[in-house]
């Protein structure tokens, strides 16, 4: 059979695309790839699944969509995968986030949390030493000290580009560390809380003093290239970035990178998120069996070994399986330990200091979230660009969130 797979244009997926032949050789199924940029992909698969279009047999989705879609009965359950697949090897945090009501609806291709990546040389030059679990206070102080705008070195690079998966992923996770939350138990938006104000003000001040120019349009990619070019002192972002910044082919600072857990403020929550890019099968596909075979292939330990064989252990998809972190070969990878620790320290079911009615660290797993958060993200981004104050941004965020929640019937 020929199966159509929609996927995102990240490095790990592109590598998978390159290894398709192995799958075809093993199973006899052909694969058609639809590789799209993340935003386009999301728009595309969402339209398709909600109209039951059936254009794809396998979709690459995240931890946000999976429970919502699973609840709607739009995805094929993956609980019946054969024993040799060893589903129990999947990291529990990942498996939990990709399930609804105890049923796994998507298999993690790779998982990530966020952590600090920092320049050991600059840290030294600033006369500081990075602890394994720093506080925001320390990070902010270090960032200001490392900044040297003359030479285009900026103390800290953080996401500023608007989008629920861009600045809002970072800011929501960070707000958790500051004790803020999206909604209270009655689904009432909380942007008017002092915690949010503190979060946002802290972020804006830090970025204005120690951030790169044009931060309000920087997302993962922009920050990655800044860091690779040696223009960032610290960067707090997805753990998968570690393999890029330590790859000497692309990075000018490959041998000067250290890692630490995302910072906290002593309230008991760290500002690190949890995310997985996972493969799921839309209900009603004609090629369910072949699709399942593909998911087994792509998310198995065999696949990890296949990649390791071809591209080296640094390039295997991380964060999905326990066994990877027990593998001797992988233990040598500098960022392996910190990645695992970050993942383990994130708890989607209990993300905030005060209780919340939703699941998800850097998001709330309700269908309305993406739309709301993107709009909120735009307000925050505008505040970062200096077009409005933190207060104004928060007020607008509160208004539009209330409005949208009301529209959705909460």
């Amino acid at each position: 059979d020929t199966i159509t797979i929609a996927t995102v244009n990240n490095g790990d997926m592109i590598r998978m695309q390159g290894l398709t032949e192995d799958f075809t050789a093993k199973t006899g199924h052909e694969v058609e790839w639809v590789t799209l940029e993340e935003n386009v992909l999301r728009q595309r698969v969402t339209t398709d699944i909600s109209t039951k279009g059936g254009a794809f047999d396998v979709m690459t989705i995240g931890m946000y969509e999976t429970p919502i879609w699973g609840k709607n009965g739009w995805l094929v359950s993956l609980d019946d995968l054969p024993a040799e697949y060893n589903a129990d090897d999947i990291l529990p945090a990942m498996r939990g986030g990709l399930s609804y009501d105890g049923t796994m609806y998507a298999a993690p291709f790779y998982g990530e949390s966020s952590m600090i990546m920092y320049r050991t040389d600059l840290m030294e030059k600033a006369g500081l030493e990075m602890p394994d679990a720093p506080t925001w206070e320390f990070v902010a102080d270090a960032a200001r000290k490392m900044t040297d705008k003359e030479n285009e070195v900026y103390g800290i690079c953080l996401r500023g580009k608007a989008g629920w998966g861009e600045n809002m992923a970072f800011l929501t996770a960070t707000s958790n560390a500051f004790g803020a939350r999206w909604f209270d138990e009655n689904w009432k938006p909380q942007f008017d809380s002092p915690q949010w104000k503190e979060t946002l003000t802290f972020y804006l001040d830090l970025m204005n003093e120690a951030g790169p120019p044009g931060a309000s349009t920087n997302g993962f990619n922009e920050n990655l290239s800044l860091f690779q070019q040696g223009k960032c002192g610290m960067w707090i972002d997805a753990t998968v970035a570690a393999s890029f910044v330590t790859n000497p082919d692309d990075s000018t600072v490959a041998d000067k990178v250290g890692f630490a857990l995302a910072p906290d403020t002593g309230l008991g929550k760290r500002g690190n998120w949890l995310w997985a890019w996972a493969l799921a099968i839309p209900a009603g596909t004609q090629n369910e069996a072949a699709a399942k075979e593909f998911i087994q292939w792509a998310t198995s330990t065999d696949y990890i070994e296949l990649v390791a064989e071809n591209e080296g252990w640094a390039n295997v998809p991380p964060g999905a399986r326990i066994s990877l972190y027990e593998n001797e070969n992988y233990k040598d990878i500098p960022f392996a330990k910190m990645t695992l620790e970050s993942i383990l320290s994130a708890d989607p079911n209990n993300p905030t200091v005060d209780p919340v009615p939703y699941v998800g660290v850097q998001f709330a797993a309700i269908p309305e979230f993406a739309g709301i958060a993107t709009e909120v993200g735009q307000e925050f981004s505008a505040a970062l660009a200096g077009q409005q104050t933190a207060e104004e941004a928060l007020a607008k965020a509160q208004a539009l969130t209330s409005d949208a929640m009301e529209a959705a019937g909460y």
Binding site: N39, Q43, T46, T47, S50, T51, I68, N72, E152, K161, A162, G163, P212, P213, G214, S216, T217, E222, S225, L226, K231, P367, E368, A370, G371, I372, T374, E375, G377, Q378, S381, A382, L384, A385, G386, Q387, K396, A399, L400, D403, A404, A407, A408, G409
Partner: protein, 288 residues
């Protein structure tokens, strides 16, 4: 020239085009109108029943609505202004005798061939990026701080990108019009004692009126619905959220089809207001 026979043949031959376009307009339109009166949330089980005018009220009362109308009109107006003014200047320049006119014309047309997505990507990444973009290098070369195009000057940047794409169109239409100006008229004005600038103002510009109308009409139709340029560059941030983009957010990001459909109906109404307004001025000016 019409006999009964040819008139009925004409009606028959118009039919396919008219029926197809009518279908193309009515079927999705009526579905959109239908959805707009419903609570339609695909992520929550789809059609959740009738809600009357709720979606309409909600859509206009949203804080994003009026700014989006404003942004739409600003982009359309800005691009029209730039392309028409520069188009006239360029058309006059290209009309002059010169060496390599054909090649220059090719250079000037080229942006029209570039897909909107590609042009937005190229401008955003390779030119307007505040660190690695070429414009940043140019600014630094002259000792200025690089402009953060897409955040600090977001509207201007989008207008710039879109104008770049549409300038060839305006230039060529206006060039054709300039070339059609009877040279005797200019000579007559010269004999009448009008110097260069007055010849432009009193003779050439009025002659271009019709061509300018065509440019305005066609471009407005296309500009009202620009999407890729915004999706790729700012995703609606920094005040660049047009009505089209707002609808996109409602339908696809917030997954509220009912609300988005109400927005769609508003967009159609806005487009038709603009259209009627245009047709009023254009209709007379245009023998179409």
């Amino acid at each position: 020239m019409a006999t009964q026979h040819s008139r009925s043949a004409a009606r028959l031959m118009m039919a396919p085009a008219v029926i197809l376009l009518l279908g193309w307009m009515l079927v999705p339109l009526s579905m959109t109108v239908l959805f707009s009166f419903k609570k339609y949330l695909p992520m929550r089980g789809g059609d959740l029943g009738w809600v009357g005018f709720d979606n309409y009220v909600r859509f206009v009362s949203s804080s994003a609505f009026w700014p989006s109308v404003q942004a739409t009109l600003l982009i359309v107006g800005g691009v029209l202004l730039i392309t028409v003014v520069l188009g006239v200047v360029l058309a006059l320049l290209l009309d002059q005798p010169m060496w390599g006119q054909g090649i220059v014309r090719i250079l000037v047309i080229a942006p029209f061939f570039v897909m909107p997505t590609v042009s937005a990507l190229v401008w955003k990444n390779m030119f307007m990026d505040p660190v690695n973009g070429l414009l940043a290098h140019v600014w630094k070369f002259f000792g200025a701080a690089p402009v953060e195009w897409l955040s600090q000057a977001s509207m201007q940047s989008i207008i710039l990108i879109v104008s770049w794409q549409w300038l060839p169109f305006a230039t060529l239409i206006l060039l054709t019009a300039v070339q059609s100006l009877d040279s005797e008229q200019l000579e007559a004005a010269e004999m009448d004692g009008a110097p260069v600038f007055k010849r432009f103002w009193y003779i050439i510009l009025p002659h271009l009126a019709r061509a300018i109308t065509v440019v305005v009409l066609i471009q407005t139709i296309f500009l009202l619905s620009i999407f890729a340029e915004i999706f790729v560059t700012t995703q609606g941030s920094f005040g660049t959220k047009t009505l089209t983009y707002l609808i996109f957010q409602r339908v696809l990001e917030s997954q509220n089809v009912g609300l988005g459909s109400a927005g769609g109906v508003y967009a159609i109404i806005l487009a038709n207001i603009v259209a009627i307004f245009l047709m009023r001025i254009v209709g007379k000016n245009l023998d179409a």
